[in-house]
Amino acid sequence: MSRSPAVFATVLALLAPLAAQAAPATDVVDLGGTRAYVRADAAVALTGIELFVRAGLDRETDHQNGAAALVAETVLQTPVDGVPLVEAVDARGGSLTFAVAAQYVRFYLEAQPDNIAPLADLVARALHAPSFDPTTLAAARGELGDRIADTESDPRLVGLEMLRASYYRDGAGTPALGTAASLLQLGPADTRAFYTQWYLRGDAFVTVVGRTGTTVPSAGRALADALPAGTAPAAAIAVRPLTAQPKRMVTHRGDVYSPYIVIGFGAPALGDPDFPAALVMRSMLSDLFRQDEATTRPSVFRPVGSIYDYDVDPAQLALWVNGGQIDPSVGVAALDALVKAAASRPLESAVLARYRQRARGEWALESLSLDERAWSIGNAVAHGLNADAADQVGAAIDKVTPSDVERVAKKWFQRFDVALVLPRGDGG
């Protein structure tokens, strides 16, 4: 099947596009010293509140891998009214989850508007005084073990963790949830110490999305006030410079069924002037070897794809080559050729227009659920940007020029690390 750009352009010209809707602004509310970033959407029936605590991976020392996740999971497992907090929230018509990133751990609470305040009070009780006793820690380790197993069965995420470990220094490069072995090394004293040192109100902030009501500010305040007062020294993420000769890492996994090659580039973070052009590069690279499709294919059936971790500065862009769909050496050679070509001459305008359009669409679809929207606002704030910064990215992609792509390809995409994730034994 061949594409016909001329006919395509004619048809597009016939189709008058709708004007884009104006992006709603995010309000900033003072919760007694803690800031809340509130973006209302009355068309949805739920409220989401996300508490960002500056207790992410980079707070872990060499002997604390997994502490950020274990402390967060311990909060969820802390008994409240006789049952673990997470279960108590479920039983009262809400949900509570957490995620660990390089700098922040974030707790996301979701419920109907009239229920969010009582549930926030419940969460605040556990957040204020987590139970670090052996029983609760064992339950937390068990929950994390299931999540770790899920990560380790996905070759793309295995490769990504290897690349993160190679690129980021110190705690920021360690496995986000720890490992089964590292979690066993962390006892009550370790986890309590981590909580005491880093769970501080002065470094925290809140995002609120969805249907907001009069009780939402008090709910946000309850969460923030649960944290002890204080701030910790600021810290930046450090990376190891990538070298001209790619570093190669290999692992063999029993629950991986096809070889994967994952290539890691340093990449601009949200707010970096190079970020929009890097998103265009991502679209181009992810399009390599794409067959004509009826429907959007799941990753297992795609030869090449990408994971852009832009919740950390500097960011990392990982491209994976699926050995079950394509000869990995052919895939890597093509990716290498493409990044070199992009750095050596400007893209043709038609090609750039095509990938700008795709990149803008992919960006629009990144944050659709309430928790994604809460994260998107928080990610901007965590980078020191305006809370609405993510809204501006689409327009910035439209302005990317051939020289932007060439510059970004030269600056960010010429050096990389390589992770090989191979099936163990006969490969299943």
Binding site: R3, V7, V11, L18, A42, Q291, A294, G361, A364
Partner: protein, 443 residues
């Protein structure tokens, strides 16, 4: 060449009709109603939310997954929908290529008696996708290249579903509950399902199933009602009627249990026939019961499983003629779990204590609302209930003030127990799914 010629002609006429219609609805100068039927016979549901960053454009059709012919072909509707999305007509761009070029996501979902095509795209491309999708399906172009892509992707999707214990078991339960009809005929194709099918057969299905008068167009998220002016039509055809629900015969006596079925996954399935969608109160009660029993963490069965090496899931699926309550048990301890699951289900034939009932309802309402956050999820809700014949009962309709949630609020422990006793208070149909290789070894 004959097929290609037809494809070009049909697409050209469809494109012309788009141009002719554009402005027709808009010229009336009134905002379109949230629901209605266009002159071409296309029913629509329009639920904009400008706060969203994307729009969902979905077409839903009542069409049996196994086709209209007497001999069922499991998954045929998915093959046809995929093929149309992949076929290139006169524009030179398939629907799949167009949505992909917009950075959007296009998906096809196959259900026993319906099929949906959903695109999620940035707001400024929503109108273009409405035009392209309706043109593609209302005057379907079916090419050899498109069929090859459709066969490839349908095969991939079938492979994924066959390895998912829940999907595979639920599919296998259909024939144990129904003597004939869409649920009996199954939705997951086998490797030989499409043998002998060509462009002509796929086109015949597409032209009958995907006609405008059988379509329900759902627009949600950041989409403007003006997009309706771009809806295509089928050339030269009067609107006609939508497809009638396919006849379905519930087994008067359960199939011999347990029915052994071979596949790529292993597990145990339990199935009961439930109320039709018209019995809204009972259907809501069974939705609630599924949540009471199988909700993550707090469900009665979920708690009964505890730390055992078993995964148990359950749901009630609302259909036009008869709903189904399906339970799947998989994992090393599946066999040991079956009596525990059945005993726990038997418990809900007696009324829950008021406090437990109130808490369970609160969780049920939250989880239902949580499934309707994104434009695609909301479109799915409207599409499903509209195609099953009761759009006003869609949980998304009216939010928590709508009919569905009013019924949920009105549930009582006694009414729920009565529904459980009536529909779940007898032995289920049972299947045991074993891996094909293991079955061969044993024999």
């Amino acid at each position: 060449m004959r097929h290609a010629g037809f494809a070009t002609r049909a697409a050209l006429v469809a494109a012309l009709l788009v141009s002719a219609l554009a402005g027709g609805v808009r010229a009336q100068g009134t905002a379109p109603l949230p629901s209605g039927t266009l002159p071409s016979g296309v029913a629509y549901q329009l639920r904009p939310d400008p706060s969203q960053d994307a729009a969902a454009v979905a077409l839903w059709y009542r069409a049996p997954a196994a086709g209209f012919a007497p001999a069922p072909v499991p998954g045929f509707s998915g093959l046809a929908a995929d093929t149309v999305a992949a076929s290139v007509g006169v524009t030179g761009t398939s629907l799949g290529q167009l949505v992909n070029g917009f950075g959007g996501v296009l998906s096809v979902a196959v259900y026993p008696d319906s099929v949906s095509i959903t695109a999620v795209v940035p707001p400024d491309h929503a109108a273009a996708v409405v035009r392209a999708m309706t043109a593609a399906y209302f005057a379907p172009v079916v090419t050899e290249d498109g069929l090859a892509i459709g066969l490839r992707e349908t095969g991939q999707d079938a492979l994924v579903r066959s390895f998912d214990p829940s999907e595979a078991i639920e599919d296998a339960l259909g024939p144990t509950l129904f003597a004939s009809g869409p649920l009996h005929d199954r939705t997951i194709p086998t490797p030989g399902s499409f043998k002998g099918l060509g462009v002509a057969e796929v086109r015949a299905f597409a032209e009958r199933a995907f006609r405008p008068s059988n379509a329900i167009l759902v627009l949600t998220g950041a989409v403007d009602g003006g997009a309706l002016t771009g809806v295509a039509s089928r050339p030269g055809a009067a609107p006609g009627a939508s497809e009638a629900p396919a006849p379905e015969i519930v087994r008067s006596t359960p199939a011999p249990s347990p029915v052994p079925v071979t596949g790529n996954a292993t597990g145990i399935g339990l199935g009961w026939v439930g109320p039709p969608i018209a019995d809204e109160e009972s259907a809501t009660a069974l939705d609630f019961l599924a949540d009471v029993l199988f909700a993550p963490r707090t469900g009665l069965v979920t708690k009964a499983v505890g730390d055992r090496k078993a995964s148990v899931s359950g749901k009630f699926v609302t259909y036009h003629t008869a709903g189904v309550f399906l339970v799947t048990i998989s994992g090393d301890d599946a066999a040991a779990m079956q009596p525990i699951v059945e005993k726990t289900i038997d418990r809900v034939t007696r009324p829950l204590a008021p406090a437990a009932f109130g808490a369970a309802r609160s969780g049920f309402v939250y989880r239902l609302l949580g499934d309707m956050e994104t434009p695609a999820e909301i479109a799915d809700t409207y599409g499903w209930y509209a195609v099953e014949g009761d759009a006003a009962y869609a949980p998304a309709e009216g939010g928590t003030d709508g009919r569905y949630f009013a019924l949920a609020s009105g549930l009582t422990p006694q009414a729920v127990a009565r529904a459980a006793a009536r529909y779940l208070g007898h032995p289920p149909s049972t299947v045991t799914l074993v891996k094909a290789q293991a079955a061969e070894t044993r024999s």
